[in-house]
Amino acid sequence: MSKAKAASEAAAESIAHEDSAIEGRRSISSAELKSIVEALIFVADEPINAKTIADVIDADRAAVEKAVAELAEEYDARASGLQLREIAGGWQIATRPEHHENVRAYLKSKPSAKLSLASLETLAVIAYKQPVTVPEILEIRGVQSPSAIKTLLDKRLIVAKGRKETVGRPMMYGTSKEFLIQFGLKDLSELPSVEDFQDLAGGSDS
C-alpha cells in the first residue's frame, strides 16, 4: 500500500468518525488540537478568536489558546512564509510582509491607493479621541475635514457612534473593526499612547 493511499484512507476514516467527535468532549492530544486549530484559522474568512474555536470543536478554551500560541511560535521558528498573528481580536494566517513583491507579482495586484495626509490625520484624531464629533476634529486639525470623513466612512474605517447630547447634537465617530484589520492592530490599546508622541512633538526645537 502506497504512503499516499494510507494517508488518504486515514483521512477518510477520521471524516467517517466525525459524528462521534461531536457527541462529546474527547480527550485529544495537544498535537491533534494544534492541527485542528490551524485548520480552522486557515478557513476562517475573518480573524477568529480562541473562544469561537473552542466552542466549535468543544474543547477547553485555555487549551486552544495554548495551542494557538504554540502554533504561532512554530511558524516563527521555522521561518515560514506565513505568519499566525493576532489581529482585530482574533487569529489569522497571513503572508509575511517581506514576501510582498513576489506575492504581488503572482496576484498581479498593485498596492491600493493610500489615504491622503488629511484623511490619515483625521483618522488619527478619531482613533485617539473616539467617540469624537466633527467640530472637535476641526479644533485639533485646524481645518475642516468633510471629505476626509466621507472617505473614511466609505472605506468603512470609521463608523457613526450615535449623537452627542450637546448643542446641535453632532454625530460622533469612532474606528471600526476594519480599521484594526487594515492597520494590523490587535485592539485599540495596541495603539501607541498619544503621550508617546509628546517627545516627538516638543522635541525638535530643544
Partner: protein, 271 residues
C-alpha cells in the same frame, strides 16, 4: 557608463542654473521656468491648514514652541499669506481666521496692561495657542505612525476567498433545477417564434384587391364576413379603410336590407 553620463550633461545645459527663488520665513518656495516647455513651476510647501503653516514657521525659525514671539511669528505668517495671494493660490478661509487671531494676540500684547485686569490674559491666550499647536503636532505624528502601519499591512496578504455555497449559490443547483431552467428557455424561444408570424402585414393595396375580388366573385358581400377574415387589429383597420376607399372611388356601394341589419357591399358599376 561615463560617456553616456557626459552626453546627458551636455544635453541639458540648464540643469546647473539655479531657478529664481523667493525666501519667506526660511521656507524656499520656488518659481522656476521650465526651459523645455516654458511652463511656470511653483513649489510651495504644502500646508493642510493654518496650524500646519504656523508649526512650520515656528520650526523654521527654530523658536521654542513654549515661548513664541507672537509679533515675529505673526509677521512671518502674514508674509506667507501675502505670497500665497500673489501667487494667486486659492486660500482656505481657515488661514485668514488664524491670521486674525494672531493679529489680535499681537495687538493685545502691545497694549499697556490694564492694571485692574485679572492675571495675564494674553499669556493664557498664548498658552492656548501653544496647546493647540502641540496637540496638532501630536496628531500629525500619530498620522505618520498610522501611515507606516498601513504600509506594512498592505504587504501582508491573507488567503483568497474559499468558494462556499454562500458566495457561490450556483453550487446548490440540482439536475432538476437545470432541466426546469432549460424548459423555461425553450418556452421563451417558442413565444418569440409566434411573435414573428403575427408580424405579417397586409398592405392597403392588397386589402383593396382582396375586397374587390370578393365582391366581384360573389356579386354581393356581407361586410361582416369580410371583416371576420382580418386576423389582427391592424388588419381590421386596413379592411375598414379599404371599404371606405372603394366606396369613395364608387367601385362598390353599401346597402342594408333592413334597419340595423347586416351591411352588404355590391359592385357599384352596373354589371
Amino acid at each position: 557608463m561615463e560617456d553616456t553620463a557626459q552626453v546627458d550633461k551636455s544635453a541639458t545645459p540648464a540643469a546647473k542654473e539655479t531657478p529664481a527663488t523667493i525666501n519667506v520665513a526660511g521656507a524656499s518656495p520656488e518659481i522656476a521656468t521650465d526651459r523645455d516647455n516654458d511652463q511656470l513651476k511653483i513649489t510651495l510647501g504644502e500646508f493642510e491648514g493654518p496650524l500646519d503653516l504656523l508649526l512650520y514657521l515656528i520650526r523654521q525659525e527654530q523658536i521654542n514652541i513654549y515661548d513664541i514671539p507672537i509679533a515675529r511669528i505673526t509677521d512671518e505668517y502674514l508674509r506667507y499669506l501675502n505670497l500665497m495671494q500673489e501667487l494667486d493660490l486659492t486660500m482656505a478661509g481657515d488661514f485668514l481666521v488664524m491670521a486674525a487671531q494672531l493679529i489680535e494676540l499681537k495687538s493685545r500684547m502691545l497694549l499697556p496692561r490694564d492694571p485692574l485686569a485679572e492675571a495675564d490674559e494674553e499669556i493664557d491666550l498664548r498658552a492656548e495657542l501653544v496647546n493647540l499647536l502641540l496637540e496638532h503636532e501630536k496628531f500629525k505624528a500619530a498620522a505618520e505612525m498610522l501611515w507606516s502601519r498601513a504600509t506594512v499591512e498592505q504587504a501582508v496578504f491573507t488567503r483568497a476567498e474559499i468558494e462556499t455555497d454562500k458566495n457561490n449559490p450556483e453550487v446548490a443547483v440540482g439536475l432538476f433545477d437545470l432541466l426546469r431552467v432549460f424548459q423555461e428557455i425553450l418556452a421563451r424561444k417558442k413565444e418569440e417564434i409566434m411573435m414573428e408570424i403575427e408580424r405579417e402585414e397586409v398592405t392597403m393595396a392588397e386589402m383593396i384587391e382582396r375586397l374587390r375580388n370578393m365582391v366581384r366573385s360573389a356579386g354581393e358581400l356581407n361586410l361582416m364576413r369580410f371583416f371576420e377574415r382580418a386576423s389582427s387589429r391592424r388588419e381590421l383597420v386596413t379592411a375598414f379603410l379599404s371599404v371606405l376607399e372603394l366606396v369613395r372611388m364608387s367601385e362598390i356601394s353599401l346597402l342594408q336590407h333592413e334597419t340595423f341589419g347586416e351591411i352588404v357591399a355590391r359592385s357599384a358599376s352596373p354589371a
